[in-house]
Symmetry: C2
């Protein structure tokens, strides 16, 4: 662990008091007393490594609670590991603190990390802490483990594979509006539930072994369901047909949808909004059933919303194709 900011000597105390307990029991971390961590290699196992950074005002709202920011940071990275079928292992933390972040804010941030690393089975391996004259900027590089060459790729979809998605879609996009107070027409409970979905994603760690067994390709839904499904199709060199009428929607999203004039446009907005942190995956027809059963056992909803095709790319709403443009979807 390093504190590279020459102006901020109390970083050493913060590392010792708040961060070192997060490395307890992880020999890889060398007690956070070294400049590096040491991760032993092991034949037959791959490390799956992902990194995501959150910037105040870009990926979370000014004034969001420190503990929730920490947990969102953990979870957006966990979501990537889940989509690869990799078991959470350890993480490296980077924090750039703005001047107005007091010690108690930092402690609340560390407490959020502690809560989620216990929940998901991770330890802190190392990191870097510094100051910034700009917005709070926090990043994690996360390590997962999977059996050798058994991770779930992005490029494994084939024509005829089903497109499946976990949970419900569109809540991240609605949740951002809810957190900003822009959904005044919805009842308070729905607004609060949606804002929570935005602030605290639910990484689908419970599905990762089933994904390794049954999925041919997967990605987490961060850019928007359609965009991420198209990333899978594009990487795999196949087409895709998505049925918006099958989109799994939360009660809150259904309530919102009821208030929209153009149902096609509203569905398209839910399907193209980002930040859901669900998993979209491809599975051969015979494997899709097993995957849905495994998800049900893990308490995770998994919905068949389309099929990978030879070449054509189609998004269908009420039986009619809708057409993509740069900023969203146009009903054609």
């Amino acid at each position: 662990m390093s504190g590279t900011d020459p102006e901020a000597f109390d970083e050493f105390a913060f590392i010792a008091n708040e961060l070192r307990p997060l490395a307890d029991g992880a020999t890889e971390a060398l007690g956070l007393r070294d400049d590096a961590a040491v991760v032993p290699g092991r034949d037959g196992w791959d490390l799956v490594i992902t990194t995501d950074t959150l910037v105040e005002g870009v990926h979370f709202l000014d004034g969001d609670p420190p503990g929730l920011i920490a947990r969102k940071l953990m979870r957006v990275n966990l979501s990537d590991l889940a989509a690869k079928g990799a078991e959470p292992y350890g993480y490296f933390l980077t924090t750039c603190w703005p001047p107005h972040w007091r010690l108690e804010d930092r402690k609340a941030f560390a407490a959020g990390l502690a809560q989620d690393q216990a929940a998901f089975g991770l330890a802190l391996f190392g990191g870097d802490t510094t100051s910034t004259p700009g917005p709070l900027t926090v990043g994690i590089t996360m390590l997962g483990k999977s059996p050798e060459r058994d991770f779930v790729p992005r490029d494994g979809a084939a024509a005829g594979h089903r497109l499946l998605v976990t949970g419900t879609i569109g809540d991240g996009w609605l949740g951002l509006q809810a957190a900003r107070g822009e959904l005044a027409a919805l009842d308070e409970a729905h607004v609060a539930w949606l804002a929570d979905r935005y602030r605290l994603p639910q990484p689908r760690i419970g599905l990762l072994r089933a994904l390794r067994l049954h999925a041919a390709a997967a990605a987490d839904v961060s850019d928007g369901l359609v965009a991420d499904a198209l990333h899978i199709a594009g990487a795999s060199g196949v087409g895709l047909r998505v049925e918006l009428d099958r989109l799994p929607l939360s009660d809150a999203a259904l309530a919102w949808l009821d208030g929209q004039g153009d149902r096609h446009a509203a569905l398209a907005a839910l399907a193209t909004g980002g930040d859901d942190y669900e998993i979209a995956c491809a599975a051969a027809p015979e494997a899709a059933g097993a995957l849905i059963d495994a998800a049900a056992e893990a308490g995770i909803r998994l919905t068949d919303i389309g099929v990978f095709a030879e070449t054509e790319v189609e998004v269908i709403s009420s039986g009619v194709p809708v057409t993509l443009d740069r900023t969203g979807w146009r009903h054609g």
Copy 2:
């Protein structure tokens, strides 16, 4: 590789055109087309992992050339690997671009990465690129390899071990002043040389195998020589005697020293300024000679500047102990 900024769709083009070539030939990177990288495990080898982030205005100056910022970012991380005796392997890049950073700035940044990854034998494995309303913030998590349990620790020093340091000390601290135009009394060539030392550290990669063979403990000099040497002593549970008169100084630092009224205070300032990115290490007396010879063969100056002791901590200048206070050193 991910571009998590919902407002910045051209991140995909930047990843494809500028970053993907940096991953050429690295199967670990999965072509930067996935959400994660996959690093195969191998019995008998450890991964040594370090992370450092640079913030504009904190770790480099506003207006520093993009290519040099990229190379400094590579090198502060390489410096940590070198101190651990780990061979450079691959890296994960995080970039938070401010709005005024144009495409050509980003291209120059990527070109700086390309130059140094070729020089030091690294490939880009993955990363995250986003925007920020604040200062440019860039981070690397870097992976090195070393034979199992053969990395150079921080806590291996014993009483009687020599304290050795590479290169010259104090140039980083002087270099920051030079880059800010604060060293008007020095001649132009020295000012330019010092500013370059601040902007472009020289990680001592050439010494890493010799460190694995001969050093008992090591750390890179980022917080300041005395502080980093004390980190080694503290982690190892021993004392330390540093002789400031033996401090290896560059011609530029010697010229600066000549202009200072209080030579003790000036030497102490060089020994406590940061950003040198040299390596401080501990070696048993019989190993110190071999280490100095190996350094000479690699074209790296290595100087014996003190000895680890049972318990006492002493910094000596012209035979007289100087006393540490919070902000520097006081001649006692």
